[in-house]
């Protein structure tokens, strides 16, 4: 039996949307100004997964797939796909009649070049996503056949415009993609063409008149604006100068106010492919956190719900496992794990410490440590202040440290000069893409950011991770990840705090931005303004 999947053509989906109500008839035209913060370092989404690049580049470039809010695959540059029984051959049928913004046709040669020469070589996560791809055959212009060494079910979750954008072979061939002119002058197949980048001000994109999806995009122009100050971003939203701000561009404190104001809406949709998880990493190689009992005691002593309610204004879900509960969809998330509690259980924490023989000294202190905080905003500082207080009752004395980004990255991932580090990780659309890097022994890579900084080694876990990556059968895969979650709940080298919910704030006049599971990293082809 072959697993075959055909999509409804985009046009069909569109006419369905049109039929859903005359009151929602999309209007063509209009200019959208949205917040891009901070200013991106470049627009090379094929080189960097940096957040602000993701806000702009997927409007210009497209991926083979798009994803809906339940992480289900939707067609993009690939019209359909077909996975062989052994999972080792994946065939993509491409859309016909697609052209690059410079007029050249988009063909299977571009797909082959993008994956083999660009994503597999220079993309930060590409070597992992496409690690099993040995070659790509292009029997004709609209067919790309991926030959895999082993089955790689997770690969199909990594084909969005943000994660794996298709790039023009004719503009990159024979050059080092890292130095190519394309980074600052992007040419894609997407609904919007790059026009201008005024450093320190804005990036301007105009409608692609030759876009392959009939009748799209609706908007004439999209401008990404850089506004450094959070209060000013809120003011610009209120005055209507900008209409859309995602990834907490409008801080939660203002977002809840705008949510209750006429004319504005707040949503937590559109982050399913990113899956952010707030967490604490421990240095498991040195005292005091080489003792798992201490790590688990902290998990009991911290009130996850308090953090969410008071610092993130109610947005977030207490973590219950090493995996985010959003992985329940593909059947990978197992029920809530032991050692994860939504509200603090001080007694249990003290019991754990006493049993492990970690006793208080004459001042009631059982352990001392410096808590490093991710330097991505004031919320994390507040979280650190809460933790410092919350751990006093169980005799753990914390000192807070808040540095700038380069210093912090160097400390945690290069010098390993930390004990306990508050951080957040994107778990992404599949654990292989976003979670494995945190735990595998092969992921203890000094100098590489956002990998196994805890230096937690577990050969049994390593075997399970390898098995989980290669198992094509969904039920068996679920069992493997169940076991992985049990081990991690017991050893807890990383303590997950809560599943973060980023907020998107937008002006109610802006419609059609919720059609893709990619949210702000989506193409905005179907966005329109209802004046």
């Amino acid at each position: 039996m072959r697993h075959l999947c055909k999509f409804a053509l985009a046009a069909v989906a569109m006419s369905a949307a049109l039929a859903s109500g005359a009151a929602m008839a999309q209007k063509a035209g209009g200019n959208l100004v949205f917040i891009v913060q901070p200013e991106p370092p470049s627009l090379a989404g094929y080189l960097s997964t940096s957040g602000p690049i993701g806000l702009v580049a997927p409007k210009i470039y497209e991926g083979l797939f798009d994803y809906d809010n339940d992480l289900k695959i939707a067609p993009a540059l690939a019209e359909s796909y077909d996975v062989s029984d052994d999972g080792k051959t994946v065939t993509f049928k491409l859309q016909q009649g697609v052209t690059w913004h410079d007029g050249e046709p988009f063909t299977s040669a571009d797909v082959e070049f993008t994956v083999m020469e660009v994503l597999k070589k220079v993309h930060p996560r590409g070597p992992n996503s496409f690690r099993e791809v040995t070659s790509i055959d292009t029997p004709d212009e609209y067919t790309a056949v991926f030959n895999l060494a082993k089955a790689a079910p997770y690969m199909l979750s990594a084909l969005s415009a943000y994660e794996s954008p298709m790039v023009p072979k004719h503009l990159l061939e024979g050059q080092d993609p890292r130095n190519a002119e394309l980074g600052n002058n992007p040419v894609g197949t997407g609904p919007f063409k790059f026009v201008e980048w005024k450093k320190g001000q804005y990036i301007r994109l105009e409608k692609n008149e030759n876009y392959w999806k009939e009748g799209l995009p609706y908007l004439d122009r999209i401008v990404g604006r850089f506004i450094p100050d959070a209060s000013t971003r809120t003011a610009a939203m209120e005055s209507g100068e900008v209409m859309y701000g995602a990834f907490g561009a409008i801080p939660n404190i203002d977002a809840v106010r705008l949510r209750d104001t006429d004319g504005f809406s707040v949503t937590t949709e559109g982050y399913a492919t990113i899956n952010p998880m707030a967490l604490i990493e421990f240095d498991t190689t040195e005292p005091p956190f080489d003792n798992p009992a201490l790590r688990k005691a902290i998990s009991y002593a911290l009130d996850r719900q308090f953090l969410i309610d008071n610092i993130w204004f109610g947005y977030g879900k207490p973590a219950t496992s090493a995996l985010s509960s959003t992985f329940a969809g593909p059947g990978l998330y197992k029920d809530p794990m032991p050692n994860y509690v939504p509200t603090a259980d001080i007694e249990e924490a003290i019991k754990l410490l006493d049993e492990a023989g970690i006793t208080p000294d004459e001042n009631g202190v059982r352990a001392k440590a410096v808590l490093d905080l991710i330097p991505y905003g004031e919320d994390w500082r507040r979280a650190g202040e809460y933790m410092k207080q919350a751990l006093v009752p169980i005799g753990i004395e914390l000192e807070l440290r808040y540095e700038d980004v380069p210093t912090w990255l160097k400390r945690v991932y290069h010098n390993y000069d930390f004990a306990m580090n508050v951080n957040y990780f994107y778990q992404l659309a599949d654990p292989v893409l976003g979670v494995h890097r945190h735990y595998g022994t092969d992921q203890i890579r000094q100098g590489t950011h956002f990998v196994n900084s805890t230096r937690y080694p577990n050969p049994k876990l390593d075997e399970l991770l390898v098995a989980g990556a290669q198992e094509p059968d969904a039920a068996k895969r679920g069992e493997i990840y169940g076991e992985i979650q049990s081990i991690l709940a017991e050893d807890m080298p990383v303590l997950n705090l809560f599943e973060m919910e980023f907020l998107t704030v937008y002006n109610d006049k802006l419609k059609g931005i919720d059609v893709s599971g990619l949210g702000a990293y989506g193409s905005f082809a179907e966005a329109w303004i209802d004046d």
Binding site: P124, Q201, A235, P406, T407, L409
Partner: protein, 328 residues
């Protein structure tokens, strides 16, 4: 020797004296910035999510960061001497182009701020000094004290709340209307419209300084002998103030303005940040956090050169205001 030839010789001499100063500034800045932990590659790789050590090593080699420090310095100095400020690897652009792009918005903001602050400061100081200990004097002094003591970012945000959100008179931020993209004279008017709030915010702070300085300076000049002489000669009070006292009282104001022009060219991080004004201050600020050292060094060098130039200009203005001061 004629007057103008002497002045020219003086300018040349000053410029030659400035060379070693600027060179020392460049070298000091270079080593100072090296003391910061982490480098541009750490930041780029951190933002990218993850990167292999091989990739990071490659980037360091590409940026020249793998060279020993003295070599890096020598390369930089060599470039500077040929008027090449180097390349910003973060922005993938030459530093000189990045700085030039930000110069116009910076100059717009700074020139309008200085004019507003000095103009109104002198005026208010004059009014306060001529009406010493009257209600005018008290009101102006209180006003100056309040504007001086209020944090800039707060003033900026309050102006946005009142004039942008409540009254809708001015845009909240930015330099241009990005839904319209005006051309020609419409664009000039649009930019001027965007310039109003940041200029008022930034000048309120300096306005207070100039008001206080002008008032004190006027009062000091009043006590001088030449004022008594003028009165004895029967010169009118109005003429004493505007012809004799004002001219002398302006000297310290010019000194102060000179010092501040140099500082202001570097931009104002707070005002640029609050109003999303694309000036040099934010550029430098972001460059620091991105460890974009070439760009930072370029901005510092430019500031140093400007301070030197402005000081020279101020010295020349002195000699025009007060003929007793001679150049040479």
């Amino acid at each position: 020797m004629s007057h103008s030839a002497r002045r020219l010789r003086y300018v040349l001499k000053r410029l030659i004296q400035a060379l070693p100063i600027v060179l020392a500034i460049v070298i000091m800045n270079f080593f100072l910035l090296q003391m910061a932990e982490g480098d541009a590659v750490d930041v780029l790789a951190g933002e990218a999510g993850s990167a292999t050590p091989e990739y990071m090593a490659e980037l360091r080699a590409k940026f020249g960061l793998d060279q020993p420090l003295p070599v890096q310095l020598a390369v930089y100095l060599k470039n500077v001497l040929t008027f090449d400020l180097g390349y910003s690897f973060r922005h993938e652009m030459p530093v000189s182009q990045l700085i030039l792009d930000r110069m116009i918005p910076t100059m717009l903001l700074m020139v309008s701020t200085i004019m507003l602050a000095v103009g109104f400061g002198v005026l208010l100081g004059l009014i306060a000094a001529t009406g010493l200990n009257t209600w005018r004097d008290t009101a102006i002094s209180i006003f100056a004290l309040i504007t001086y003591a209020t944090p800039l970012f707060w003033v900026g945000l309050m102006l946005i709340v009142v004039f942008s959100l409540n009254l809708g008179w001015f845009p909240t931020s930015g330099m241009e209307n990005l839904t319209m993209f005006y051309e020609g004279w419409d664009r000039v008017i649009d930019i001027a419209h965007h310039l109003v709030l940041p200029t008022i915010t930034l000048s309120l702070f300096y306005l207070a300084l100039y008001t206080r300085l002008m008032r004190a300076s006027m009062l000091e000049q009043y006590g001088q002998d030449y004022v008594t002489t003028a009165r004895a000669k029967g010169v009118t009070e109005r003429r004493i103030i505007f012809v004799h006292v004002l001219r002398n009282a302006l000297l310290p104001v010019v000194t102060m303005a000179g010092v501040q022009v140099g500082a202001l060219i570097g931009g104002s991080v707070i005002v640029e940040s609050v109003f999303a004004w694309p000036g040099l201050g934010m550029l430098a600020f972001e460059a620091l956090f991105a460890r974009d050292l070439n760009l930072l060094l370029g901005i510092f060098l430019l500031s140093a050169l400007l301070v030197v130039a402005v000081n020279l200009v101020v010295d020349i203005i002195y000699s025009s205001l007060d003929p007793r001061i001679e150049v040479g």
